[in-house]
């Protein structure tokens, strides 16, 4: 084993140089956790590649010497999706964080995977452009990590969906065997990076949300849009969940012209009958924006809701890319019971939360939140908790709630490793899952890449 380890280190050093390979215990430990309460998992080596060719060589060597390779972006996964399930080689992509091109004519931006949303947006704003990032972890959230988990968040998703639905145009991927492929129009070398769905099947969609198990993303081209300096934020309170649902349908009615770019729903555990809606209105022209505001006010009034001081919404949406405040003031985070569900199905999640969390367990720290997307919700339960004293209890509760929720009308979001949802997904053994396993086996017969993530090793 030691001999093999030395050989692996030698190979890695030959590929990237000694200064970008480490196996020192104090260098490894920061990579042993993510944002979730997943158990510590250590890499054997951490490597910092700077380009796709180095990644290609590492994957080829991994196949030759049969060592697992894991990928890490910003290290902010909420569900054990990028931790080394086995002590393998971890690719820290931090040095691959460049903005390669901003194409103002085609409205596209091409970036390396570890460019953060915040960095891209800062650069785009200089040109009067934006992506309208949806991720609340914007300052640290890398674009590659975010897209590989099919991210979403409180901002822009009400209008555009998770990652703007079709806003990810092309991807460059190093496959587990070291081959490099491009998707969409980029697959046709004499064309360019401008279109997602062309040539044939949408292969970008195969990789988006795959949590890196099918390939290492080394470049992304995104659709961008002109920035709007117009800003209207609103906060409303309604007194029943039915009214929240009505409101959800209302803002989704005008498909292609959704009134809001962000709509965040929150129920605080201390007031389970108060339903808070934070809204970020969308529009390029004052006239349009004012019209939308008027219609929303009318709708809230019709629902018997109350408009509140918009300061919390301003603060919240303004900080999506600069950092939300006091996020760990009362402990570290855990998201659970989360997933996608129909607008009409939110009462199911609410009922689980109310009965299992608030009434049965009397937990006054777990809130229920979600974002309205076009035609659906991305909803979750979230709590702050104290590590290490409350860790075990939180894990236990989260596991129980996940089981209940995912047996209902909720599609799991964020699968991850053995401390994530992968075992629940495997147990359901759907046709989709079987197909995914077949694709994984075909692309990665030795199960080199992200071994144990999404699909348990024994399932392959």
């Amino acid at each position: 084993m030691i001999v093999l380890s030395e050989r692996i280190e030698q190979v890695l050093v030959e590929i990237v140089g000694a200064d970008r390979v480490t196996s020192k215990d104090f260098d490894l430990i920061p990579y042993s956790r993510d944002l979730s309460p997943a158990k510590q998992k250590f890499p054997r080596f951490v490597v910092m590649p700077t380009n796709k060719e180095e990644i290609q060589e590492i994957l080829k060597a991994a196949n030759q010497h049969e060592f697992p390779v894991y990928v890490r972006g910003g290290g902010t996964s909420h569900w054990d999706a990028y931790l080394c399930q086995e002590p393998g080689v971890l690719l820290d992509l931090s040095l691959m964080n460049k903005i390669i091109e901003i194409n103002k004519r085609d409205l596209t931006a091409t970036v390396q995977p570890n460019c953060t949303w915040s960095k891209l947006d800062r650069e785009l704003q200089k040109h009067g452009l934006t992506y309208l990032c949806s991720e609340a972890g914007g300052p640290a959230m890398t674009i590659g990590g975010s897209v590989m988990k099919a991210g979403g968040g409180p901002h822009s998703t009400a209008k555009f969906g998770l990652h703007g639905n079709q806003d990810i145009i092309t991807l460059e991927i190093v496959l587990p065997n070291g081959d490099i492929v491009e998707t969409g129009s980029a697959a046709w070398p004499s064309a360019g990076k401008f279109k997602r769905q062309c040539l044939g099947p949408d292969l970008a969609g195969l990789f988006i949300g795959s949590e890196g198990i099918l390939g290492v993303c080394t470049e992304l081209t995104l659709r961008i849009r002109p920035v709007s300096s117009k800003k209207i934020r609103m906060v409303a309170i309604v007194d029943s969940l039915d009214k929240v649902i009505e409101f959800g349908h209302f803002i989704n009615r005008h498909v292609g012209d959704e009134y809001l770019q962000g709509s965040y729903f929150w129920v605080d555990p201390t007031a389970p009958d108060v339903f808070i809606l934070m809204m970020d209105l969308f529009g390029y022209e004052d006239e349009i924006l004012e019209f939308r505001k008027k219609r929303i006010i009318e709708k809230i009034s019709e629902l018997g809701g109350k408009l509140e001081d918009p300061t919390p919404a301003n603060d919240y949406y303004d900080r999506v890319l600069t950092g939300l405040t006091d996020i760990f003031a009362t402990g570290v985070w855990h998201f659970f019971g989360s997933g996608s569900l129909r607008i009409d199905d939110i009462p199911f999640l609410y009922k689980v939360w109310l009965e299992e969390i608030i009434e049965k367990r009397g937990m006054k720290t777990v809130g229920l939140g979600g974002q309205i997307l076009p035609r659906d919700w991305l909803a979750f339960m979230v709590t702050n908790y104290q590590e290490p004293s409350e860790w075990e209890q939180i894990i236990e509760i989260a596991d129980e709630i996940n089981e209940i929720v995912l047996n209902g009308p909720v599609v799991p979001y964020g699968i991850g490793g053995r401390d994530g949802l992968r075992n629940i997904v495997a147990k359901h053994n759907t046709g989709y899952y079987c197909l995914l396993k077949s694709i994984k086996k075909m692309l990665d017969p030795k199960n080199i890449l992200q071994r144990g993530i999404f699909i348990p090793e024994e399932d392959l």
């Binding site: 020192k24 956790r33 300052p139 405040t325």
Partner: protein
Amino acid sequence: MQIEKYTDMIYACGRCNFCKGQEFNERCPEVFTQFWESSTARGRMAIARGILEGTLKYTDELAERIYGCFLCARCKEECKKAANIDIIAITKAMRQDFVEQGVRIPETSEQMVDSMESSGNIFSDTPAVHNKWSVGLEFKKESGILFYPGCLASHRFKEKTRILVKVLQSAGYDLDFLEEDQVCCGTPLWISGYMNKARNWVERIMQLFEEHRVKEIITPCPSCYRAFIEEYPKILGIEELPIKVRHSSEVLERIVLEKKLNLKHSVDMTMTYHDPCEIGRYRGIYEQPRNVLRGISGLKLVEMERNQENSFCCGGGGGVKLAYPDYSLKVSVERIKEAISTGAKAITTVCPACELNLTHAVYEEDLMVRVLDIAEVLAVAAGIEDEEILEPDYFADD
């Protein structure tokens, strides 16, 4: 272990990575120079947690990550948004653990403390050499207002220090000076982890202050300033020193605002101002030095993109200048490039360590620009010094 005191904070790290920033050169000078995750605040909290849980040990190799921290507090500033962890206190506690456990630390850190103990200053100067800057100046014994230059201002920047004293005296301050008794404030002890020696040293200095009937201290050195305001009371177990302590920038601001000097000369130059971490982020002194510059006619003050609480370190903090000079230089070059990009013809600041590092970066990059203390600019405006001292090709005797 000293870090046990900070257990709650160490566990409070939510691993959000706000501390690192978008680019390696954006916020943290350590991750800019050492680039591994273990160099970020998030990484350091993981290391500290590992040590608390017994899965990691302090080792010679780890010293580079812990003593390679510039203690600039940029991460601490960012963490205010998230978990409000006092990363600096934890880093200093880790350094103390190194020393107390007998684990090897950078040789130069030990040497700095040895020099301080044996000669009274970090440069091992004799008192005559160390205080050469004061030759020709007159001080008023037991005036109650002590001018306390600190090691760097005494040793490296004799002319700058002399000019500052002349400005203060011209504005009517009757300054006392410790002369042969002038010694280091003790900062090397707490930044290197030698807290076991701190109390004796502090008591010795306090004794000196008593003998000289000191009621107020004016110092140009942010480390000395923070030593008297933050460290001494902590070490002595008191709320605050029975002595008023002011940084020179605060005094110079009063001089300008209260028109204690006739600023009759226009200084027609574009200048930028570098916020020293130790009085900026640590003490919130942002506007005082800027007000001095704003009070000078003709002077155009332009800001660097990273300023005030977002300011980037000069490369001189945390003892890194001595322990890892290459890292220090890399950071100072990064900062000087940012300063030059503003179009400024001179870089001003109010910290001898920043002045030293940025000056080294000027040499390294072969730039035609001077790094000035704001007192020098004020001295020219007040007609105390000739304007040639602002010129890029001016070379002070020291």
